[in-house]
Amino acid sequence: MSPKIEIRGFNFFYRDFHALIDLDLLIPRNQITALIGPSGCGKSTFLRCLNRMNDTIAGTRADGRILLDGDDIYAPDVDVTGLRQRVGMVFQRPNPFPQSIYDNVAFGPRVLGLASARSLDGIVEESLRGAAVWDDVKHRLHDPAQALNPGQQQRLCIARAIAVKPEVILMDEPCSALDPVATLRVEDLMQSLASDYTIVIVTHNMQQAARVSHQTGFFWLGRLVEFGPTGALFRAPRDPLTEAYITGRRG
């Protein structure tokens, strides 16, 4: 099967700082790819390059290629809003809009005009079900989203992300603000979403990477040191730097 995202000779700069160096990797479709590494290693920067979120930061520059189903997302004629519809994002802290649960999920379809083709109610319900939060909220869809607990809020944010029918979901430490039970629910959700979406997750929790992902990439000082099947990387990493990091000898 062809990769969902192909990264070739990719570099990224914050002004003079070379943040990502010569990245080459293939992100498989309908799988979960985890990115690990110490703070400041570039993994979140890389994640944000996958839907050009870094474009909003002044002084940044990218070279090399990131191909989404063969299309270069950094090509001059790319519609960035359309790209972000195809590649959605879930953040570290649940960030529901100060609106009702319903309006949070309906926001994207309304903006993108998706509701004309299908019932908005249907999209909202399908997305909330897809994010495993429907049963928690179905009787209070018009309550403020901020009334939900953090785990529910994060699943609501995932529902909001999938409401616009993305192909890829990027998750930047999606469980770091959640308790263990809510974390497990989100991890279960990732597993079930992987059959329909390509998921890329940045996590500091190596057990989480080991539990949920199919592939893991280890970043160090802006370079991708090692990338491969998760089981093999955690059992017997090829690179001594990966070994030192995942065993806690270096970080």
Binding site: Q207, A210, F234, R235, A236, E243, I246, T247, G248
Partner: protein, 226 residues
């Protein structure tokens, strides 16, 4: 001391515990071989009590391993060290059982006519003890080339066992009395215990290679006749 250093020391202590258990098994084998050579039931009894200590060591080390897994959630080499230790103590415990099996043979030989041991028995005993020592040396020093030599040593043990087997076939044809036949088969059983001991030493060597390199290799030679 940092948590990482403390964990490193725990892994060192785990290795020391496995080495100490291997020493117990070596002593058990030594006693069993002496008991067989002298047909001494008292020594055979000492083998049994030593085997209790080996079994207890296995449970103690297993508890340590489970504790390290649950509290440290190790990865990579650390994980392989704990997993290798868990597998090795199971094999060492079985090796203790093989030694105990020889002690049982000694007890049964008390009520049969005297049967000379073929010289290959002592040679097998010497060879498997050497295998255990070398394997533990490889384990103590992460010495993969040394661990790989164990396969050749096991082949030597298998050849000796085949010679014992042929000797037993010949003896069975020679003797007619049931008591003597029982003694002959008890000798074969002792040889079989030693051959299995060698097999398990070879398993230990595989675990050393896995722990150091992360690759699972089979060192065992083909099964021997009998």
């Amino acid at each position: 001391m940092s948590l990482r250093e403390r964990f490193g020391r725990s892994l060192d202590a785990l290795r020391d515990d496995v080495l100490a258990m291997a020493s117990l098994v070596e002593n058990e084998l030594d006693l069993a071989l002496r008991a067989l050579e002298t047909r001494d039931p008292v020594l055979a009894g000492e083998v049994r009590s030593l085997d209790h200590k080996v079994n207890q060591a296995r449970f103690d080390i297993e508890q340590t391993c489970v504790g390290l897994l649950v509290t440290q959630q190790p990865a990579a080499r650390d994980l392989r060290s704990v997993v290798a230790a868990m597998n090795m103590i199971t094999d060492l415990e079985r090796m203790g059982d093989q030694a105990k099996g020889i002690a049982t043979v000694v007890c049964h030989l008390q009520r049969t006519p005297a049967e000379d041991l073929p010289p290959e028995i002592a040679q097998m005993g010497h060879a498997v003890k050497h295998m255990l020592r070398e394997t533990m040396l490889a384990y103590a020093h992460d010495n993969v080339p040394l661990a790989r030599t164990i396969a050749a040593q096991e082949e030597g043990v298998d050849r000796l066992y085949t010679r014992v087997f042929q000797h037993i076939l010949k003896r069975t044809a020679e003797v007619g009395e049931a008591d003597t036949i029982e003694a002959v088969y008890l000798v074969l059983r002792a040889a079989r215990e030693l051959e299995r001991f060698g097999d398990l030493a070879s398993n230990l060597a595989e675990r050393v290679i896995y722990m150091v390199t992360g690759s699972l290799e089979t060192l065992n030679a083909d099964d021997v006749v009998g």
